[in-house]
């Protein structure tokens, strides 16, 4: 059974935000508009954030501009092996599946938002409103979805009132498996790439099976540059970063 993981090389990443928009287009996350965005309600499954985040922290930086350091971090769902979000869900709407993906069952979700608070990475987003598709823009909605237990996942348009998050483009996994079946061959881990990995302008993202010790992600995860965010809280993220320099 594969265990899907992503490696992001920050030394290659150019913080272009291609991943952010590729994700939105692939997974039908519309722009929520200025008012909602100002309230922090934009749906940012895959965001690029500058560090330090805190403006106060910035203003305390001393007068020497030449010593400034800013880092940029692209941040999908970490698909933790030990995700805090699933423990607080009162209705078991979120769970880790057998391939390590942290899934969200929109049918079960009651919109209590416990998980959005519990997630230390802040990658879970609540739909405060109906998705604001104008009829014209709705024409580019990606028709893909994954259907399981009567629930539509993947890019399926989410209704108001549920929490949503990065799925590692789970529909691409299903499509890749179907494709392999149609072609009468075995499914290979390389057949499956999330949209952000495919579009990465600096080819800084790698995706694959962590169970396979010879996969690129396994190899890179053993690099001395490898780190995970908030490793110390015990979430065991399956998104691994390689630091700059």
């Amino acid at each position: 059974m594969p265990r899907w993981a992503m490696v992001i090389d920050l030394d290659k990443c150019v913080a272009c935000q291609g991943c952010s928009i590729a994700c939105r287009q692939e997974n039908n996350t519309p722009a929520v508009g200025p008012d909602q965005a100002a309230m922090g309600r934009a749906l940012r499954w895959n965001d690029v954030v500058p560090l330090p985040l805190n403006a106060e922290e910035v203003s305390e930086i001393s007068g020497e501009h030449a010593t400034a350091t800013v880092r940029y971090l692209t941040r999908p769902c970490m698909h933790c092996d030990n995700p805090p979000c699933i423990k607080v869900c009162p209705v078991q709407a979120t769970y880790v599946d057998e391939e390590g993906l942290v899934r969200q069952d929109y049918n079960r979700c009651i919109g209590c938002r416990f998980c959005t608070v519990a997630c230390p990475y802040g990658v879970r987003y609540f739909n405060w409103e109906e998705p604001p598709w104008s009829p014209e823009l709705a024409r580019h909605i990606n028709p893909d979805y994954v259907s399981e237990n009567g629930s539509l996942e993947g890019p399926a348009v989410r209704p108001k009132g549920v929490v949503e998050k990065c799925t590692f483009c789970i529909h691409r996994l299903q499509k890749a498996r179907q494709q392999a079946e149609t072609e009468g061959r075995e499914f290979r881990a390389e057949d499956y790439r999330p949209a952000c990995v495919e579009t990465c302008t600096a080819q800084a993202r790698f995706f694959g099976d962590m169970e396979d010790p010879n996969s690129t992600v396994s190899y890179l995860a053993r690099s001395t540059r490898a780190f995970r965010i908030l490793e110390e809280v015990g979430t065991h993220p399956k998104v691994i970063y390689l630091r700059e320099g």
Partner: protein, 795 residues
């Protein structure tokens, strides 16, 4: 239908029995999801699906893309893995392109103005009426005997479109095809022309480069070909065993500085001094490529002309005037740092000094050109021209030449007229002076018919709006090909909307790698609206004019013209359409002094001086042009140098508008990766929502200021502020950023639109409106960093 929301449901059940709530919730919203999906027009799980290759046109990179089309709808774009620029990648703009195609604010068919100009009252008309109207106007201009009163302003033109616009204008009889290049890339092109004899931007072989020194606009955000730089950069860092070093010279840290190994916060407008200070160290330390400067360069050493007059060479100029201590005073970069940078640049070869292409901070006043020359001189000093890992000349596929224009006395006379922008006359070195057009019209250059293709000068020129509006009052008939009612299109009399790039046939030369290649833009979907390819419209108009103009256009339409021009690129039309591109990588790099060196690398585009394969440290081309360098000429041209220095790369202080004591900050308008350089990007909602990534803003402008300056002014993060220059003021909010000189403030470009569409309009401020409307007298370049501002709290 009974409508019940989750919240209603939870209220009704009162949350008493969680299990019941869960089991009921299981069925209801599931149906709701399905309903939403069924509501998507044409949605079907077994939909017909195919992939169409095309080329992006949301920035000048020209990335190959594959469109995923489901039931005739474009649902997703991926980078074409075959395209050598983007290698399968696509940046946020390219990814968001479906929002351009299906944008609700697109112009849906030809429009004719009915109210006052600029009042926004339009009536839809059909193409036939619209085209005969335009044809009549063009015929009138020609009949009047002054075809030069037709002018064509254009922005980004790809492949054959630039040639077609110029050819069309000439066929009508006008020299007035004016490109917006003078707003951005012209400084680099002219500098390469004056030194290397190549009137073009150059390519950088980053994959094999060990050391990159980038000047001007942010390499990874605002370069001419950002995606090319991103691909090359990533490979240089981690695609090979030896990790290359990147140094960013920019008053603003930005994304490029944050990602670089070293950031040099230089005083704005002093890049030339830094480059020459480095040249001083490279020369005095013996790090120059001796073979190159002795055998393939002109004017490195002092020289004597045919009349026996002694002239100064680059070496003695630099050694006399630009030692590290002096340049440290000018640039604010410590002398030790300059020396170290020079040492690294000279020894860690192959090294390149990059001008990302967009002028950015390079265009202050007259120094834009000399700065670009000084930067390129660094490449020559270390022998990086046309070497692996160095600077490469961009080659293009061979195309058959444009046909000879038929005999046409009216047109022939019109073509000899002075240009509307003053290029070649008022601005002797200029090929284009886009931003000077309104002033020239107001000064009395008559323009009867004006075409605007991918041009929004009212927004994109420094201090543009009012000047253009006034100039437009003196133009009889204005035709815009815009897809959106942008600031300038609002002043048109007629709008003939073009397809978006996803709906049209167009070719696109692959630029940025050196070797020739062409990619093909083809309709990914059927046109969404009643729009037409401007290429087709121009050919149609020519046919309607009849006589010699029609005879000059033997093609039925633009695709036929493309097929004819692309017949020799090395691939059949069918192959081009199937793969989306064709490239011809070189088998070897030309040796110095070889035939290809002479014909392709150095001197190719020299007009007045010998194509002898010498790189000009001392620009003979410029010397030819400015035969008489008397005091009056130099003063008129705003050149502060005297004597031979005029023809050599040197530093000219920027002539700032606004007194330093009253206006303490230099205003820097920065291009963002998200909103990019083109107007339409501002009306794409997901791009707006990610636009302020560097400071966590969305959907708005912000002013970047260093914390120390803010403390000095008593400003706090997110305070509302006025930014005021001698030319105007704008209200926005201040954001404190680390990584910015305390004498510079930044405003992001492409906000502050007064038109375009629902997502772009009335959002933030346009920093260019605060800038002084300057044109460099020698080159016709827009002065982009010539304005000081003050900042104070808004109540």
């Amino acid at each position: 239908m009974l409508k019940i929301t989750r919240r209603d449901f939870l209220k009704a059940t009162g949350g008493l029995t969680v299990t019941a709530a869960v089991s009921t919730a299981l069925s209801r919203p599931g149906r709701k999801l399905a309903q939403i999906h069924a509501a998507v027009p044409g949605y079907d799980m077994v939909a017909e699906e195919h992939i169409v290759p095309s080329v992006c046109l949301l920035c000048p990179s020209g990335c190959g893309m594959w469109g995923r089309v489901v039931d005739g709808r474009l649902v997703k774009l991926e980078g074409s893995p075959l395209h050598p620029i983007n290698l399968g990648a696509l940046c946020p703009k390219g990814q968001a392109a479906p929002e351009l195609l299906y944008n609700p604010d697109r112009i849906q068919g030809p429009l004719r103005r009915v109210g006052e100009r600029g009042a926004g009252q339009w009536e839809p008309i059909n193409w036939e009426t619209a085209l005969s109207l335009v044809a009549q106007r063009l015929a009138d201009v020609r009949d009047s005997g002054h075809p030069e009163r037709f002018a064509f302003l254009y922005g980004e033109t790809r492949g054959q479109m630039r040639g077609l616009i110029s050819y069309f204008s000439q066929a009508i009889g006008s020299p007035n095809a004016v490109s917006h290049d003078s707003l951005n890339i012209e400084a680099g092109k002219l500098a390469h022309q004056l030194t290397q004899g190549i009137y073009d931007l150059l390519a950088y072989d980053l994959e094999k480069t060990n050391h990159v020194l980038s000047f001007g606009a942010s390499l990874l955000e605002a370069g001419r070909s950002v995606q090319r730089f991103a691909s090359g950069y990533a490979y240089m860092r981690r695609g090979r065993p030896y990790r290359g070093k990147v140094v960013i010279v920019d008053p603003r840290l930005g994304v490029s500085g944050a990602k670089a190994d070293e950031w040099i916060p230089i005083r704005p407008g002093t890049d030339a001094a830094l480059a020459l200070g480095m040249a001083h160290v490279i020369i005095s330390s013996g790090l120059v490529d001796r073979d190159f400067v002795e055998n393939y360069a002109f004017g490195y050493e002092d020289w004597e002309d045919e009349a026996g007059v002694q002239h100064q060479g680059f070496k003695s100029l630099v050694l006399e005037n630009y030692d590290p201590e002096t340049t440290a005073q000018i640039t604010g970069v410590p002398a030790g740092t300059i020396a170290r940078l020079a040492g690294e640049f000279g020894t860690n070869r192959p090294s390149v000094a990059v001008m990302p292409g967009k002028g950015g901070l390079l265009n202050g006043s007259v120094n834009g050109l000399y700065t670009a020359m000084a930067i390129h001189a660094l490449n020559a000093l270390v022998g990086s021209l046309e070497t692996p890992g160095g600077v490469l000349v961009q080659r293009y596929p061979t195309c058959p030449g444009w046909p000879e224009l038929p005999a046409d006395p009216v047109a022939a006379e019109g073509r000899q007229a002075e240009r509307v922008d003053g290029a070649g006359s008022v601005f002797p070195l200029a090929r284009h002076a886009y931003q000077a057009v309104p002033d020239r019209i107001r000064e009395g250059y008559p323009v009867d018919v004006l075409f605007l293709y991918d041009a929004n000068p009212m927004f994109e020129c420094p201090n543009g709006g009012a000047r253009w509006a006034e100039a437009f009052n003196q133009v009889d008939f204005i035709v815009s090909f815009s897809s959106f009612l942008d600031e300038t299109a609002e002043h048109a009399d007629l709008i003939l909307p073009d397809h978006t790039f996803l709906e049209r046939w167009q070719d696109d030369f692959i630029e940025g790698l050196g070797y020739p290649g062409v990619a093909l833009r083809q309709p990914v979907v059927e046109p969404v609206h009643n729009t037409r390819n401007t290429g087709d419209v121009l050919i149609d108009l020519a046919h309607r004019l009849g006589g010699p103009v029609a005879a000059a256009f033997p093609w039925a339409g633009f695709p036929e013209l493309l097929k004819w021009r692309l017949q020799d690129v090395g691939a059949s039309w069918e192959t081009l359409a199937e793969l989306g591109l064709w490239i011809v990588p070189p088998d070897q790099v030309p040796n110095r002094g070889s035939d290809p060196w002479l014909s392709q690398v150095v001197g190719r585009d020299r007009q007045n001086t010998p194509q002898d394969g010498y790189f000009d440290f001392f620009s003979r081309e410029l010397q030819c042009l400015l035969q008489t360098v008397d005091e009056a000429t130099l003063q008129q041209l705003g050149i502060q140098a005297r004597g031979d220095e005029v023809f050599l790369p040197h530093y000219e202080p920027v002539n700032y508008q606004g007194d330093e004591d009253e206006y303490p900050f230099v205003l820097n308008v920065v291009t963002l990766m998200s909103l990019g350089p083109y107007t339409a990007n501002a009306n794409m909602p997901t791009l707006q929502e990610i636009s302020g990534m560097v400071v966590n803003e969305t959907w708005d402008s912000w002013l970047e200021m260093s914390p120390e300056s803010a403390h000095r002014l008593g400003l706090h993060d997110k305070d509302p502020v006025w930014v005021e220059s001698p030319f105007g003021k704008a209200r926005t909010k201040v954001r404190l950023v680390s990584g910015l000189r305390s004498d510079v403030v930044n405003l992001p470009y492409n906000q502050g639109h007064r038109a375009v569409g629902r997502w772009a309009k009335d959002r933030g401020v346009n920093g260019l409106e605060l800038m002084g409307p300057g044109t460099e007298p020698l080159t016709g370049l827009a002065a982009f960093t010539n304005t000081r501002v003050k900042v104070y709290r808004a109540s």
